[in-house]
Each structure stands twice: as C-alpha cells, then as structure tokens.
Symmetry: C2
Subunit: 339 residues, 2 copies
C-alpha cells in the first residue's frame, strides 16, 4: 500500500514491476544513436496514410501493442491505461486507446506525461486498484509543429534554443509482481515552478526550475544523495535546460548531480550531427527513451537505481500569445532493478 | 485499500470522505435554478480584468479556495490536486494551480474530468498515497466558444442540439476520514465508445453511448439495480443526450433508469426559460452541480446513494475538421451519505 515518505514522495512498498515495454519512432529518431534500442523504427514520419494526428495515434498504439505482445498479454487482460500527449484535447491518446477498449484515464502533463503515467500507474497497481496497467505517451514532430509553431509548409526557421519534438511513443506495462524485472520504488507528483520564462522557443529554460525543485524535494524526502543513483534522468530539458538545471542545483542548493545526470532530450539524438538544435522534446521523447534504453539497462542490471524526472512546460499557444509566462512541472519516478 | 469488484469497478473500502467543496459560476449560471447552491455567483462572465482564459483560471482557484476555507485547510495542508479543463493543454488548471504550490496531476477527460478527478483522488486517498486531496474542474463559455466554435464577436448561431458550456468551476476535498460527510464508495474508469457521431454541435449524442456502457458495467459489477440508487446523475448529456441514454439502456439493455436519472446539464439551467438550447456542458458543469447541490443533499442525507457518471467527448476542433468521429467516455463515482 502506497506510503508517504517526507512531504512529497510516495513510496510503493509492494514494488510494482514494469514487466514489459514498447516503443515506436519516426525517421529522425531512427537515424539517432538509440535506433537499435527501439522496437519499431519507421523510416518516414508519414507513418500511416492519414493526417499527422493519425500518424501520432498509430505510433501510440504501436508502442502499446509491442509492450503487450512481448509480455504475452492482451487488451482484455489490461485493467487501465494512463495516457496523454501534447495535442489539443489529448486526441492522439484518445484515438489510439479507442480501439483497445481498455479503461482510459487521460493525462495532461505536457512532456512530463510519461513520468505522470508511471507515477499514477504505480500508485494504482501498488494499492490494488488495478492489476495490469499501462502508462503511455506519444508525440509527433509534424503534428506538434503545426499546433505549437508553424505548419511545416511554412518552412519556418527554428532558434538555437528550440528543441525538436520527438516523433515517437513509449508504453510500459505495470503489474503487482515480476521478480527479475525493473521495479517502481517510489514516485512523486511535482509542483509547478514559474521563473518568468516567456520564450516558447526555450522550453528547456522554462522546465529546468521545476526539475531542480523536484530533484531537491525527492533527495530531501528520501534522505538520498545524488551518488545513490546510477542515473538522474531528466526528460526532456535538452542542452540548454540541462545546463541550467546543473547550475540551479549547484548555485542555489549546493547539490552537484553532474556525475549522474543524463537527459532524454540529449540521449535520443546525436545533437552534433543531427539538425535538432537543443535536443529532443515532446511527450514521446522521455517515453521512448525510458521504454527502451533505460528499462533494458535496468533489466540487465547495468543500471540499478534510476531517478527519472519527467519535465513538462504547461503553456499553450494561446497563453504564449497572451504574453503569459511558461510554467514548468516535473514528476519523479524512482526505478530500481529487479531482485 | 482499493479492491476490484467484478471487471471494472474499484471499491474503496476505507470510504474516503468528501469533507468540503466549493463552486464559482458566471452570469447565466447565477440566473439559473441552482444559484442559491453555489458559493460564488459572479454577475458577469468577465470575472477578472484579463483574458477569458484567465477568467476561467480565476473561477477554478475560487472554487479551490472556497473548499479549503470551509474545511479550515490551506494549500500547505494539501498533498495533491487532480485538475483539468477543456482548454488546449489544460492551461486553465495549470495557471490556477500554479499559485497554490500543491503537487499537480493534470487530467484530460473533457466534460468527464470531475468524475475522473474524484475517481483518481479517491483511489489515492483510500490507498494512503495522499491525505488531503483535491479534485477540481472548470470551464468558461467564452474561452470554450472561441476555442471550439467561433469567437463571440462573430455572433454565430447555435444549433438546437448544441449545449452551452458552463462558466463555472467546482472543487472537492477528499480525506481518509470524515464521519458524517459524504463518502466515495466505489469508482470506475470508463472505456471509450464511438457510435459514429460526427456532429460537434451534438455532444449529447456522442457521449450517451459511453454513459450507457458505464452504467451497465457498473450495475453488473456491483450487482445493483437502478432503484438501489436515489439518483443516477449523468454529467452532462443535456436534453438530447439524456433522451438517447434512456433509449439506449431501455432498448439495448432492457434497463430502465428513468425513475432515478438526472443530468447536470439539465439541472444547472432552466432550459425552458434560459437561452441554453440543449442544456449545459463543459468540465465546469458537473463540477459545479456535484460540488453544490449533490454533495449538500448527501450531507443532509436527502440523498444516500448517488451514482455520478461524468461524461466527456474526446474530440478536438482538428479531429472534427478532419472528419473524425467524436468518441465519448464516462467515468463513474458512487457517492454515499455519511454514517
């Protein structure tokens, strides 16, 4: 039964297991350094014959299907899915889940959605509210560009601080038991942080304060130090936000996580060689990285303690056009390797 | 600890209590039949000096503040808030929660959001993952019209089947104990239903099949009959959707709920006298009705068993313009009176 630890952390004493995971990604991601880790690598972003939004739904359901198939499970076996995306009214998730007939709890956490889904999924399974539960998230470069910036046809230039929305999706299957598989040790729902960033082309800066807040809260509540984790994985601050996070933690909190810090937005692309500016972003970024490389390394015990801090920017084009700040949020999931 | 009952229902054996609630509504709602039930009745929809989106955020935080003040609680006392709304990227909720510093889990369930929040909040409190937890939802006629249909300045005509988005918000405080207060007995996360409706001006029809599915699942899993409830409250099918729900249940399932059926969209307005076409809708509709009339009647034991079935239409303007169907979803919350 879930248990509060300190002020914000929720321990999951039954240690729900992530027994399976699936990913599907688009062209640029398939050309990136993690291409061997993903289950499905499309060689195009036009993943189906429909709209960009339908292509994103296809990625989302691909990821869910892969995760279920690998575990020998079906939609029927599944009690609950927590899923979300960046699109208005979270339609990528709704239209992908529709065909599965799985009870659907829609989430909005912007790019932090995968962490939010793992956190709520973990609580649900640990408490007995559900057994087989899926956490999933997706994004698509083309649907996001059209919605948040410009239609691709416009040929707009991106700024150096802009991140590239990942065309990809990830899904994780959570169950009460799964001895050798990665475990959900504790989770934390984050608080919103707003340091006055208004530049919608610099999401990393908008999200870094929330990531710093969540890391500090988590370490304080659990009594852990950065070096107690093999990896503190933010997702997805990119190059600019990652640098800011390390600075914020160092200067304001005297906490150095640089030895163990990684960021999903930096891992998914070869930032030097691929034209991705400040790295990857989007709900699909951390979903695809966690549901491939990270969970595999936890399963192989190459990693044993990972603090995954999913970060999201809580703005819309409307609020940005109205001159509002861009608040950030970060949810944390402590993943451990199996027995 | 939450317990599965049948296939879909999740019983909450500790019976978390709804110890307090708050509402804030706009002009048309203040002129409606429930005006005496609401905490704050604005005599205008221009609730603050800012944008319509900021007016909606103001309603949302008003409702949260009222609920906390009535219970003698503060933001600091609060472990978690589940909140959502209809706006793109759920910005009404994010910008209202921002100032509270309460850990924030963003939800998207369209007009079913209040039920989804009560369900997840109930699971969280029943399991011990959180203590004082808030479920909240909001909508605003003017922000919704601009986003989903036309800006008000356009002066567009609405169809007879169209519902009026409620300018309002509701918030409920859930805690592990609260003897005499209303209780969360069981909850259920719904499955998506899509019977091929494509008319974005007829949301009631799009949501009725999901409501029917959830009512049937809930009654079957719990072994209850419609007459075991004082009220089966849908929110918000309006006139058209309510009629369809009764028909679907009668003809397809041989289940007659007409003696106990009420709909938040029909209760909040005087449909004969107010120019609201097929009734109320929007996340704020069921949130405002449940967090006023219904919880008060449960507290006073005028109602003892209420099955609240929050309904949502999972579409966006983009999917409608692309010719997609409008899938519906319905989440259920079984509310009982206190000891």
């Amino acid at each position: 039964m879930p248990k509060r630890v300190g002020r914000y952390v929720i321990e999951l004493p039954n240690r729900p297991a992530v027994i399976s995971w699936g990913t599907a990604v688009g062209k640029t991601e398939s050309e990136g350094p993690l291409h061997k880790e993903f289950d499905i690598c499309y060689q195009t972003d036009k993943i189906c014959s429909g709209t960009w939004e339908q292509c994103e739904s296809k990625l989302a359901i691909d990821a869910v299907n892969k995760a279920l198939i690998k575990a020998g499970k079906t939609y029927e076996d599944t009690d609950l899915i927590f899923a979300g995306d960046l699109l208005n009214q979270c339609v990528a998730s709704a239209f992908s889940v529709k065909s599965t007939d799985i009870p659907f709890a829609g989430l909005f956490g912007a790019c932090s959605t995968m962490a939010l889904g793992l956190a709520l999924g973990g609580i649900s399974v640990d408490s007995g509210a559900s057994n087989l539960t899926i956490a999933a998230a997706s994004s698509h470069f083309c649907s996001a560009e059209r919605q948040f910036r410009f239609p691709l046809e416009y040929g707009g230039q991106r700024t150096p601080t802009a991140q590239r929305t990942v065309t990809g999706a990830g899904a994780a299957l959570i169950t009460p038991k799964g001895e050798t598989m990665p475990k959900l040790h504790a989770v934390m729902i984050g608080r919103i942080r707003d340091l006055g960033i208004t530049d919608a082309n610099n999401m990393g800066a908008a999200m870094a304060p929330a990531a710093a807040c969540t890391v500090i809260d988590f370490l304080r509540d659990t009594g852990k130090k950065p070096q107690d984790f093999d990896m503190i994985l933010t997702g997805d601050l990119g190059l600019v936000g990652s640098k800011l996070l390390l600075e914020l933690l160092q200067k304001r909190e005297n906490t150095d996580i640089s030895a163990v810090h990684q960021d999903c937005g930096n891992l998914i692309f070869d930032i030097e060689k691929q034209d991705v500016h400040a790295g990857g972003s989007g709900c699909g970024c951390s979903a695809a990285v966690v549901c491939s490389l990270i969970l595999k390394q936890l399963m192989r015990k190459e990693l044993n303690n990972v603090l995954f801090v999913g970060t999201g920017a809580l703005m819309s084009p409307t609020t940005s056009q109205q001159g509002s700040n861009i608040p950030g949020i970060a949810h944390a999931v402590w993943l451990t390797s199996g027995e």
